[in-house]
């Protein structure tokens, strides 16, 4: 019977350690990383009222759509565009090279207008079908416009009525170009000249294709972490994390010996489960998030310390090993439950009231507390029971008592 138990124990430990050794690192790297770790730009935009346009639900929804379109057109990878509250939009752009330009484009109203000689607006960007950057006949950078069917009619009408006069094309009330009409243009096509570079022409084309924002948008907050700093923070956090865990493991082995070894195995399992949970919750790992993990590991260790200390007390009071271990678990459980639930209350408050990095911290801490109650109590208990049923270890010393 006792060899059976030893084999069972070793098999479980073996599976946990091998699986962790194999999956830990790919799992950790597959979790979405925050901008503080990989570099990138975080922007908070707010739709604001102007005398011309008041903000309403519909307007904000359209703003989100248009910004999504712009971000995609610029060709940024893995962007996150999120509505926050009534009027705010969070845009996260990982690894963007020139954040300044991207931000400038995101918040631009981009209202295109065509005015006749008298300054009356005849057409807007809504009448466009497409806009493309091209190199024009005189090697200049132009944006080629193609109108919709209705737009083509309006434009033909506009050019017919204004032969020999100026018409103006305006973007956000600024004149882009103001050519003299030589003859009516029925083709539904036009060009905008005056872009200083092909990039400028491309950006204008993107803005025109994605349409104009229905309301004014302000940049409330902008944070850019350069790729060098992100990489540096990530590497240093990994080192700090490894050293912290290593110290805790040594500590557990030194004070609690075999029980400490069991606790270490469950700690490894705990870190695996936590990473798995974060992956499944599609959480983003940020620096404060890593700090939350460190704290939750501290609490997982605390649970084991509470159990083992209680076990030592009961054992010294004259109970048998098994009875002392049982008493240790059942008495410590009440303590762990009360102390962890109290901390969970503050994690929950942070989760619901916090934003951004604070929320990331609350998620890892909260999930960590719940998981650690499971691993540090249940799994540790199962493994220790297996060990005790082997009847090999009869001296309390080997369990740290």
């Amino acid at each position: 019977m006792r060899w059976g138990n030893i084999t069972k124990f070793l098999a479980v430990v073996f599976v946990i350690l091998i699986a962790s050794g194999y999956y830990m690192s790919p799992l950790a790297t597959s979790i979405k990383q925050g901008l503080d770790l990989q570099g990138g730009t975080h922007v908070v935009l707010e739709a604001v009222d102007t005398p011309e346009a008041k903000v309403d639900e519909d307007a904000v929804q359209r703003v989100v759509k248009i910004i999504e379109k712009r971000v995609n057109e610029i060709g940024l990878t893995e962007p996150i565009i999120q509505r926050q509250g009534e009027r705010r939009i969070i845009v996260e752009l990982p690894g963007v090279k020139e954040p300044e330009k991207a931000i400038e484009m995101l918040g631009k109203t981009a209202l295109l207008e065509f005015q006749d000689d008298s300054g009356a607006t005849v057409m807007t960007g809504k009448d466009l079908k497409d806009a493309k950057a091209e190199i024009g006949q005189n090697k200049n950078n132009v944006v080629a416009l193609e109108f919709s069917d209705d737009g083509a009619k309006l434009f033909a009408d506009l050019t017919t009525k204004n032969v020999g006069k100026h018409i103006s094309i305006l973007l956000d009330k600024k004149v882009l170009t103001s050519p003299v009409v030589n003859e009516p243009i029925p083709s539904g096509k036009a060009i905008i000249t005056g872009s200083k570079s092909i990039e400028e022409a491309q950006n204008l084309a993107i803005l025109l294709r994605s349409g104009s924002l229905p309301v004014k948008v302000d940049v409330l907050e902008m944070r850019t972490v350069g790729p060098t700093l992100g990489q540096d923070s990530k590497e240093k956090s990994v080192v700090a994390f490894s050293i912290g865990i290593g110290a805790i493991v040594l500590f557990m082995l030194f004070f609690y010996r075999l029980a400490g070894f069991v606790a270490t195995v469950t700690l490894v399992l705990y870190v695996m489960l936590l990473l798995l949970a974060l992956k499944m919750l599609n959480a983003t790992l940020t620096l404060p998030g890593i700090a939350g993990i460190i704290l939750s590991i501290g609490m997982a260790v605390d649970a084991n310390v509470l159990i083992f200390e209680r076990f030592k007390e009961e054992y010294r009071a004259g109970k048998t090993l098994r009875a002392a271990m049982d008493a240790g678990f059942s008495r410590a459980f009440a303590t762990i439950l009360d102390s962890n639930l109290t901390t969970l209350i503050s994690a929950a408050v942070l989760f619901f009231l916090g934003t951004g990095s604070v929320k990331g911290f609350a998620i890892t801490l909260g999930v960590g507390i719940i998981l650690s109650m499971f691993t540090a109590i249940t799994i540790t208990k199962i493994l220790l029971k297996m060990l005790m049923h082997t009847n090999v270890f009869k001296n309390g010393k080997i369990f740290g008592a």
Binding site: G226, I248, A291, G298, V301, L306, E309, S339, A347, V349
Partner: protein, 302 residues
């Protein structure tokens, strides 16, 4: 006989006061070094190709009327030059920022932009408001839970111990003029979580011992016994979290330095206040009630 912690409780209260009061004075007279997360503004974190001094950077900013900005070198241990510089200015428009940066490049040579942050004043005041709301709600939740599981007196004693820890950390940050940013709020909330967790473990032991409490044992003796029964655990646990946080402080990046420093101070304070403040406060209150009860009885029997 173990050392009588409860018997010396007034000395420990005094020690806490001596540690906290300089910080409180600093908060009142010197205030906090609030980052742009609270005040709004622009932060530039630049790494120059060559080491620069604070006065060089200040000189370069003068032309843009930004010479009153906060300028800090990343490595501040008596070294007067550094490649890495933090500049905190009032909120700059995107255009102004571009002009300032290109002008600096002309005057001080090339640099790598590590971090650029711009926070509107609205966001800053929201952060402060939300942080205070979060703390108050967390406290209400904790008081409710502890009153339900233990008793109201434990809840109040626990919260007072937390107030001790929060003031201590705030005071140290004010004294050292360390920058307070959004992650500091997360640190404070972590400290609150840890401190109450640590306190509850001792309260739990007191609660357990109260069940088998004999009339011959005074509250003082009972609480003393409970504190000592949990002492090994208290020390081991604070050791593990301090080691993990110290690793983050020493080996972690520049961006987590202040965060881990706050945690480090808070965890140690939390462990101290759980042992030397929370339970002693509870005993003091309990004994005061006891005396009042006896006084009432004796006056009633006359």
């Amino acid at each position: 006989m173990k050392f009588d912690i409860i018997g010396k409780k007034y000395w420990f209260f005094l020690l806490s006061a001596v540690i906290i009061i300089p910080g409180l004075l600093s908060i009142v007279f010197q205030g906090f070094n609030l980052g742009i997360d609270f005040t709004g503004g622009t932060l530039l974190d630049l790494k120059f190709a060559r080491a620069v001094t604070v006065s060089e950077v200040r000189e370069a900013l003068k032309e843009h009327q930004l010479e009153n900005s906060t300028i800090q070198l990343a490595v501040s241990d008596q070294i007067e030059t550094s490649q890495n510089v933090f500049i905190r200015t009032p909120e700059l428009s995107d255009d102004t920022r571009r002009v300032v940066l290109s002008d600096m490049e002309k005057k001080l040579g090339t640099f790598d932009t590590l971090r650029v942050e711009k926070v509107g004043a609205v966001i800053g005041s929201e952060l402060t408001k939300n942080a205070i709301i979060a703390v108050v709600i967390a406290w209400v939740g904790m008081i409710a839970y502890i009153s339900y599981r233990f008793e109201f007196k434990f809840a109040v004693a626990g919260i007072l111990a937390i107030v001790h820890d929060v003031f201590l950390v705030l005071g140290v940050f004010s004294l050292l003029h360390k920058e307070i940013d959004a992650s500091f709020v997360a640190a404070i909330l972590t400290i609150i979580g840890y401190s109450i967790n640590d306190t509850i473990v001792i309260f739990d032991r007191i609660r357990e011992n109260l069940k088998t409490h004999k009339k011959t044992e005074s509250f003082n003796e009972l609480v003393n016994r409970s504190i000592w029964q949990t002492m090994t655990r208290s020390i081991y646990t604070v050791l593990t979290v301090v080691v993990a946080t110290a690793a983050l402080y020493i080996f972690g990046g520049e961006t987590t330095k202040n965060f881990s420093l706050a945690l480090l101070i808070g965890f140690m304070s939390g462990a101290y206040s759980s042992i030397f403040n929370a339970s002693p406060i509870w005993v003091t209150w309990k004994e005061y009630e006891e005396r009042k009860r006896i006084a009432l009885k004796t006056s009633g029997s006359k």
